[in-house]
């Protein structure tokens, strides 16, 4: 439904997108993941024909975003990150205006608005001016607007940002629900969100796609490099690190607070060797566990690879 190929966007000398390519299949929920400023919003703005690209191909529902913008927009429901709304309008007036603008036929309009007020939980505020709404309600109004013309494709830019934990859960449930009928591209920098909601992930960093796969497969790929976390007492850290580093199958040992993180070669289990080495050294082992990589670690890994090489990344930084 969405096809992006070698998309480039330059602002003056700055390259915001550097040959970005990905596809979103019909009925898929694709998570667009990246740190702030990675180029997520830029990509989404190009896909909604708000921003022209410098080079490359972008197609939505088979229509080219540059040549057939109105066709594309007709099929896309877009929720921009800042959820811009007209503060002076009432929720019902706003939805009515948006429904007209998106060519919802007159006969269906009020029924469709009622339906969305229900789905998005806007019942209490439907007569209130938007200026009086909380952030959570504004987000829902924005979502209702994106859905109003029942577009086959939804593009949601950071749909859960600024919501409280309960609202976040509600919105995620809603998105999963919507994923049954819509093709969804959603951006986020919150990792658990992707694992919970998305069928596939594109990780973008500094305008480049650095990884794309299902959350499970991404984890699998990188899980090979599983890690063992140990806490050792009674020995100088340097010496402990050196000893552990000599164990066959250990790639690197790095400190992480009071603990040591041991990077292990794929497929090896070094826990017994670690235990013996610690005992042989005359130290005490107070903790030993394997640490499956979360998507968060993967994210930090792929987005820092460039700057820091293959060095293991302390877990805290990922939070």
């Amino acid at each position: 439904m969405i096809h992006v190929e070698s998309l480039v966007k330059r602002y003056g000398g700055l390259t915001a997108l550097d040959r970005v390519s990905f596809d979103v299949a019909r009925g898929e929920i694709l998570g667009f993941l990246g740190p702030n400023g990675a180029g997520k919003t830029t990509t989404m703005r190009i896909l909604t024909c708000f921003l022209p690209a410098t080079a490359g191909v972008a197609q939505v529902a088979g229509f080219d975003v540059f040549a057939q913008p109105v066709e594309v927009r007709q099929r896309v429901g877009y929720l921009p990150e800042s959820v811009p709304l007209y503060p002076e309008m009432r929720v019902s007036e706003y939805l009515d205006f948006r429904a007209r603008l998106k060519h919802v036929v007159r006969a269906a309009r009020s029924g469709r608005i009622k339906e969305l007020v229900e789905t998005c939980g806007l019942g209490e505020v439907v007569r209130r001016p938007i200026a009086q709404l909380s952030r959570g309600y504004r987000q829902r109004v924005g979502l209702a607007d994106a859905l109003i013309a029942s577009p086959p494709i939804l593009i949601l830019d950071e749909p859960t940002v600024g919501l409280d934990p309960n609202q976040i859960r509600e919105v995620r449930t809603l998105i999963r629900e919507l994923g049954k009928e819509h093709t969804i591209l959603l951006s986020t920098h919150i990792l658990p969100e992707v694992e919970m909601v998305c069928g596939r992930v594109v990780i973008i960093h500094q305008g480049r796609v650095v990884a794309q796969d299902t959350p499970a497969r991404l984890r699998e790929q990188l899980e090979g490099r599983s890690r063992v976390v140990v806490e050792v007492r009674g020995g100088p850290e340097e010496q402990v690190r050196e000893t552990l580093g000599r164990i066959a199958g250990v790639k690197a040992v790095s400190p992480d607070g009071a603990r040591l993180v041991i990077d292990v070669e794929p497929g090896k289990d070094v826990r017994e060797d670690v235990f013996r080495a610690v005992v042989a050294g005359g130290w005490t082992l107070t903790e030993l566990r394997t640490d499956a990589m979360s998507l968060e670690d993967i994210f930090v890994r792929v987005t820092t690879r460039e700057d820091e090489g293959e060095k293991p990344v302390p877990k805290e930084e990922a939070a």
Binding site: E88, F97, R98
Partner: protein, 246 residues
């Protein structure tokens, strides 16, 4: 259809904002004072001959002051506010064309501008009742002139609003654009070249409004004002195109 949807929302937005009421009230007050001034002035013995309404529309700077004031204030919000608040993005990612957005907004402010002039019909009624029957032809021409001039200046007001996110700057720009357009013809008095004088005569807005006020509907004037309108709207559409995502 999109155009009307946008115009409808924009008109409603006028009635939600205090600015529109302030403009409406001030415009009526100022116009009322002018009417009274002209009436008093022309009733004096030894006053130059002429109809009240023709002075009302042309021949003095007063018409321009109130028109430019209201055009600047009515157009400033239209696009600047959309860009400031970010609704520009939701608006332009809906299935609408840029030109529909521009024309929809333009239609709204033009209708509001007409609304400003509507109550002035009462002056004609007053004259009709108390001062004998004024000649309606020149009055209608005066209204036409006020409408066309407003339409032309408003398109540049909209352009000003497209150029910035700040309403105050938009109003100031609109004010400057309007006076520049109105005054360019006045340069006629300062040039020596005859051909340049003639050319400037075509775009002399003071003289043009004087003609309308006297009941002269000159096709050249009408064409000039319509050309300005189209030019302003075209430039606005181009600016909207350029400002997308910027």
């Amino acid at each position: 259809m999109n155009l009307l949807t946008i115009a409808r929302r924009e008109l409603l937005a006028y009635f939600y904002s205090p600015i529109a009421y302030v403009v409406l009230a001030l415009f009526l007050l100022i116009q009322g004072i002018y009417f009274w001034l002209f009436l008093t002035f022309l009733s004096q013995p030894g006053a130059p001959p002429g109809a009240v309404m023709s002075y009302f529309f042309g021949g003095t700077i007063l018409f321009w002051m109130s028109t430019i004031f209201s055009v600047s204030l009515l157009s400033m919000r239209l696009l600047a506010e959309e860009r400031r608040s970010g609704t520009f993005e939701t608006l332009l990612t809906a299935p609408v064309r840029d030109i529909e957005v521009v024309l929809g907004k333009y239609l709204a402010c033009l209708l509001f501008y007409l609304l400003l002039w509507l109550p002035e019909v009462i002056y004609v009624a007053l004259l009709w009742r108390f001062a004998g029957r004024p000649d309606l032809g020149p009055i209608a021409a005066g209204y036409l002139g006020a409408f066309l001039v407003g339409a032309a200046l408003m398109s540049f007001g909209l352009l000003a609003s497209a150029l910035t996110r700040n309403q105050i700057i938009a109003a100031t720009l609109a004010f400057v654009f309007s006076w520049a357009l109105v005054l360019v013809g006045v340069a006629q008095d300062f040039v020596t070249s005859q051909s340049l004088r003639d050319t400037l005569g075509y775009v002399h807005m003071f003289k043009l409004m004087e003609d309308f006020g006297r009941g002269i509907v000159d096709t050249r004037h009408v064409v000039f004002l319509l050309t300005l309108t189209v030019l302003g709207l075209y430039a606005t559409t181009k600016v909207v195109e350029l400002k997308k995502g910027a």
